[in-house]
C-alpha cells in the first residue's frame, strides 16, 4: 500500500499539471480575442493569469472548480437550491433506493438461478442480453411514462438505478453461490443437511467475497443511473440536472463542479462498501 503512494502521487500531480496546461491552451483564443478588441498586448504572464480566471472558460482551471465547490457546499445553506449538497442529496437518495432494490432483485434472481434448473436455462441468457442493451437510452422514456402513470419523484430514477445495478449482483452471486466445491457439498450431505441448511450455512457465507465485489460495481452503476435519470426531468434538481443546466447556459465551472461532486460521491460510496467488506470478511475469518 505504501509502496504505491509515491507513484500515485506523481501520476496525480502530472494529471493536474496537464489540466493547468490544457486550460491555458484551450482558453487562449478568448484571451487573445479580448485583448485585440481592447487593444492590449498579451504577455506570457497575463495570458496565464487570464486563462486561469475566465468567467466562462472552455476548461476551468482546478482552483476555479475548487472554489466553486467550496462556495456551493460550505458557504450556502444546505436547503438552498443553489447548494451542491442539496443536489447531491437528491441524487444520493435515488441512488441508494435504486441500489437497494437492485441488490434485492439481484440476490433473489441469483438464488432462483442456482436452485432452479429451468430458471438457470431460460433466465440467465436474458439477464446477460439485458445488459447489451444500452439501457440508459431508455431512461428518458421510462421517466416520462412513469410520470404519466402518476409515479414521479424518486421512484422513476431509482428504477433506472435498479436496472443498472441488479446485473453485477446476479452474476457475482450466481458465481459465489456456486463457489463451494464438490467436497464441501458432499460434506454437507454426509451430515444430512437439508437444502435450506446447506444454503444458509455453506453457500451463503461462501458467496460473501463475490457479493461485496459486485456491490461495489453495482453502486457505481447505480449512481450513473441516477444521474442520467435526472437529465430528462426538466432539469429541476440533482447532479444530473446541474450538468444539463450548466450545458444549456455554458456554465462550464458549474458542470465541472457537479462532475467532481459526482466523482467524490462515487468514491465515498464505494469506499464505504469496501470498509464494510473488510470488517465483515475479517469477522467471518475470510480476509486475506
Amino acid at each position: 500500500m505504501r509502496s504505491n503512494f509515491l507513484p500515485v502521487l506523481t501520476v496525480v500531480g502530472v494529471l493536474f499539471a496537464l489540466w493547468y496546461a490544457a486550460a491555458v491552451w484551450l482558453n487562449a483564443d478568448w484571451t487573445y480575442d479580448k485583448a485585440t478588441r481592447s487593444g492590449e498586448t498579451v504577455t506570457a504572464t497575463s495570458l496565464v493569469a487570464d486563462t486561469w480566471a475566465q468567467k466562462k472558460p472552455k476548461l476551468p482551471a482546478p482552483h476555479q472548480v475548487a472554489s466553486e465547490i467550496w462556495d456551493t457546499t460550505l458557504m450556502k445553506k444546505v436547503t438552498s437550491k443553489r447548494s451542491l449538497v442539496y443536489h447531491s442529496w437528491i441524487t444520493l437518495s435515488a441512488t441508494l433506493l435504486g441500489f437497494g432494490m437492485g441488490t434485492l432483485l439481484g440476490v433473489l434472481l441469483a438464488v432462483g438461478i442456482v436452485f432452479n434448473r429451468v430458471m438457470d436455462m431460460s433466465v440467465m441468457p436474458w439477464v446477460i442480453a439485458s445488459q447489451t442493451i444500452p439501457i440508459l437510452a431508455i431512461a428518458p422514456m421510462i421517466i416520462v411514462v412513469l410520470n404519466a402513470v402518476g409515479v414521479s419523484g424518486l421512484l422513476p430514477k431509482a428504477m433506472i438505478s435498479m436496472y443498472l445495478s441488479f446485473f453485477p449482483v446476479v452474476v457475482g452471486m450466481v458465481k459465489g453461490l456456486r463457489s463451494p466445491d464438490q467436497m464441501q457439498l458432499d460434506q454437507m450431505r454426509t451430515w444430512h443437511a437439508s437444502t435450506a441448511q446447506s444454503f444458509w450455512k455453506l453457500r451463503l457465507p461462501a458467496s460473501m467475497p463475490y457479493f461485496f465485489t459486485s456491490l461495489k460495481i453495482a453502486m457505481a452503476a447505480s449512481l450513473v443511473g441516477a444521474i442520467i435519470g435526472e437529465l430528462p426531468t426538466g432539469a429541476v434538481a440533482g447532479l444530473g440536472a446541474r450538468l444539463l443546466a450548466g450545458s444549456y447556459y455554458g456554465q462550464t465551472i458549474q458542470i465541472w463542479s457537479a462532475l467532481i461532486m459526482a466523482a467524490a460521491l462515487a468514491a465515498l460510496l464505494v469506499g464505504i462498501i469496501g470498509l464494510i467488506q473488510r470488517v465483515t470478511l475479517k469477522r467471518m475469518g475470510m480476509a486475506r
Binding site: 440508459l136 462532475l259 459526482a262
Partner: protein
C-alpha cells in the same frame, strides 16, 4: 378478457415447454432453445396483457405495433443507425481502445508508472465518466465527432486497466524460458506476453462494447444534428410516439448484442487455448 386468457395460456405453455426442456439431456440445441422459448413467452404475455387491459399505447405499445413501426420506418432507423453506431460509437471505440492498448504497452515498460497509474485508472473506471458528455459536446460541436470523443473517454480506462493487468499475466517461469532463448524485449512481447494478455484485453473490449453504445446515445441528449438514435428517442418521447422509441430501442439492442457477440466470437478464435474457452 380473451387476451388475458391468451396471456395466461401462453405463459403456462412456455413454462411447460421449458420444464420439459430442462429434463432432457443437456445438449447444445437445448441451451439455445430454452432462452428463445422464454423470450417468445414474454413477448406473447406482453401482447396479451397490453390488449387485454387496454393499456394506452402512449404508455406501453404492444409488440405487434412496435414490429409494424420497425418495418415501416426502416429509412429513419437506418439514418440514425449510421449516425450513432457507425460514426459515433464505432469510431470512438476503435480510437479509444487502440490508444489505451498502445499506452498500456508503453506504461508496462516502467514499473513506477504502472504502480501509479493502475490505482488511478481503477478509480477513474468507477467514476460516472458519462458526465463528461456535456463538456465534450461543447468542445467538439454537435456532430458525431463529440459523440466519438465521449466514447473514447468512456472506453479508455477499462481497456487500459485490463491491458496493463493482462501484460502482467505471465509467470516468472515463462519469462525465464524466453530469456534462456535470448529473446529480445519485442520478441518476448509478441510471442509470449501479448498472447497471454489476450483474455484480459478481450475482457476490456467486451466491457467497451456496451459503454460505447451508451456513450454515443447519451451524448446526443446534450445536443446533436437532427438525426441519431439519442436525438430520435428524446424527441419522440416528447411527441409521445412511443412506438418509434421502442423501435429505436430494438435496433439499439440488436446492435449492442451483435457488437458484443462479434467480440465474443473473435475472442473464441484468438484465445482458444484459454481454460474458459475449452469445454
Amino acid at each position: 378478457m380473451i387476451w388475458l386468457v391468451f396471456a395466461a395460456v401462453a405463459w403456462a405453455f412456455g413454462m411447460w415447454v421449458n420444464i420439459r426442456l430442462a429434463r432432457l439431456r443437456p445438449a447444445r440445441w437445448v441451451s439455445l432453445a430454452a432462452p428463445l422459448v422464454f423470450g417468445a413467452t414474454l413477448i406473447a404475455v406482453w401482447e396479451g396483457i397490453v390488449r387485454g387491459l387496454e393499456i394506452s399505447q402512449v404508455l406501453l405499445p404492444a409488440p405487434s405495433l412496435i414490429a409494424l413501426r420497425l418495418v415501416s420506418s426502416v429509412d429513419i432507423l437506418w439514418v440514425d443507425f449510421v449516425q450513432t453506431v457507425l460514426k459515433g460509437a464505432l469510431s470512438g471505440y476503435v480510437l479509444g481502445c487502440g490508444a489505451a492498448f498502445l499506452i498500456a504497452i508503453a506504461i508496462d515498460r516502467f514499473p513506477f508508472l504502472q504502480r501509479g497509474l493502475l490505482p488511478v485508472g481503477n478509480f477513474v473506471a468507477a467514476l460516472p465518466v458519462i458526465g463528461m458528455a456535456p463538456i465534450l459536446v461543447m468542445w467538439f460541436g454537435f456532430d458525431w465527432q463529440s459523440k466519438a470523443a465521449v466514447v473514447v473517454v468512456m472506453v479508455f480506462f477499462p481497456m487500459l486497466v485490463n491491458t496493463v493487468q493482462g501484460l502482467q499475466a505471465t509467470d516468472t517461469m515463462q519469462r525465464d524460458l524466453m530469456r534462456t532463448y535470448a529473446a529480445s524485449y519485442w520478441a518476448t512481447l509478441f510471442k509470449l506476453r501479448l498472447p497471454a494478455a489476450m483474455p484480459f484485453v478481450f475482457n476490456g473490449l467486451k466491457i467497451g462494447t456496451t459503454l460505447a453504445l451508451i456513450g454515443a446515445i447519451v451524448a446526443e441528449f446534450f445536443g446533436s444534428p437532427v438525426r441519431g438514435m439519442g436525438f430520435r428517442i428524446s424527441t419522440s418521447v416528447g411527441q409521445l410516439a412511443l412506438d418509434l422509441v421502442w423501435a429505436e430501442i430494438v435496433v439499439a439492442a440488436i446492435a449492442g448484442s451483435a457488437f458484443y457477440g462479434a467480440m465474443s466470437l473473435f475472442e473464441r478464435r484468438v484465445t482458444f487455448w484459454h481454460p474458459s474457452q475449452r469445454n
